[in-house]
Symmetry: C2
Subunit: 231 residues, 2 copies
């Protein structure tokens, strides 16, 4: 199934230029043909083409369906890797598995202080379409670690950090159906001060298991665990 | 920590040409310096350089440590994706998370009938070193699906296939500590005949959850589940 994306639905009833071109020039859709469109906010639209313009393909909505709501909000916050490809990969895979929000923060050992959120948005949109979802994760601009801790609060806050005195697996901290936020550190890991600061802010330290995972793999494992908790 | 690889340990007490060059030319190690070497079969070696040759760096073994043994054999069998990059990515990530064996098979909807096992071997070795493991997964050459089913047998055999009449999540079929093999289908999925053939061969149908995952993502999710069952 081919999905089109228009985030301004239901107010705007046409596809943007890229989507129109793909729809009319590449897929050769014509007036009267049906389209499946998503708004990235959780709604699938069945629509019919009223003007098969390759610049502004207009349609009328026939029906709508809501995507199955998830039980709790899954939020991943990560110190981006130096290699941006890995973050694009992560956004793609996390969207595919299911995630509601991804935030980026600068920490002491971060090798990357800026991110191109537009590129990540494109990856998220493409992954959402490919995996037939109607909801796009919210992607937040990078901010300093301290600011992130201060500004973000949910009931279940976790920090992935292996502490040999306290090895609680993340899977055991997801049993309750509650909004969850998990922090994943940079390639050089969190500093002890950063961990203490999280603890002061009511974060629980959790482990992702016995394997030594790279930043982006750890993040995907955490996303998978949040999804498993809902199955 | 820098790990070197010599799969012929303990019989052979030198690094191959690539590893020797990296050790002596790049890292500028000298006679008497200590090395950490893995054999890909589960043993870590502490060694001391006896001849700092950039072509054949010789060493003597000081001590050995065995990697923590996993409770059961984790085997992933997959119909490779058309895009070989995705398989390289999968081998890398699966090695990082932990996998004992990866097999490839040709199925009806397979778009790829051949694989370059040498490239995948390199990815596995590099991921093993990076994640400080001593055991490399066994990678098997691609064979036809029917042949694979016939030749491979373990106590817990699973096939990832979403059947709406029978939605058993894979996580619920991993509770016993037993050797597990999971089959992941191609981009066009298994045919009903291929699923029936697996059932005849005592495979159980399992789901990986509500999200529609691409082949390589489904495979990684399955690998993660096998690892979670051991935590």
């Amino acid at each position: 199934m081919q999905l089109f994306y228009q985030n301004l639905l239901p107010e705007i009833n046409y596809l943007d230029q890229d989507e129109s071109k793909h729809c009319i020039k590449v897929l050769r859709k014509q007036q009267g043909d049906e389209l499946d469109i998503i708004d990235g906010k959780g709604t699938f639209y069945k629509a019919k083409i009223t003007d098969a313009s390759a610049k502004k393909c207009r349609f009328e909505i026939i029906s709508t369906t809501q995507e199955r709501k998830v039980a709790f909000h899954r939020h991943l916050a990560i110190a981006p890797t130096k290699n941006m490809d890995k973050m694009e990969w992560l956004v793609e895979k996390a969207t595919e598995m299911g995630i509601d929000e991804i935030s980026f923060f600068q920490s002491f050992h971060s090798e990357r202080k800026v991110i191109k959120i537009e590129r990540l948005e494109k990856k998220a949109i493409s992954a959402m379409k490919q995996s037939l979802k109607a909801k796009k994760p919210l992607l937040n601009e990078i901010i300093p670690y301290k600011q992130f801790l201060k500004e973000t609060d949910v009931s279940n806050k976790l920090i992935a950090y292996v502490d040999f005195k306290n090895k609680i697996h993340m899977k055991n901290e997801l049993s309750h159906q509650q909004d969850t936020l998990v922090l994943i550190g940079p390639e050089g890991d969190f500093t002890p001060e950063e961990v203490s600061l999280a603890i002061e802010n009511r974060y629980k330290k959790v482990s992702l298991g016995n394997s030594r995972l790279r930043t982006e793999t750890a993040a995907l494992a955490a996303v998978h665990l949040m999804n498993l908790a809902m199955e």
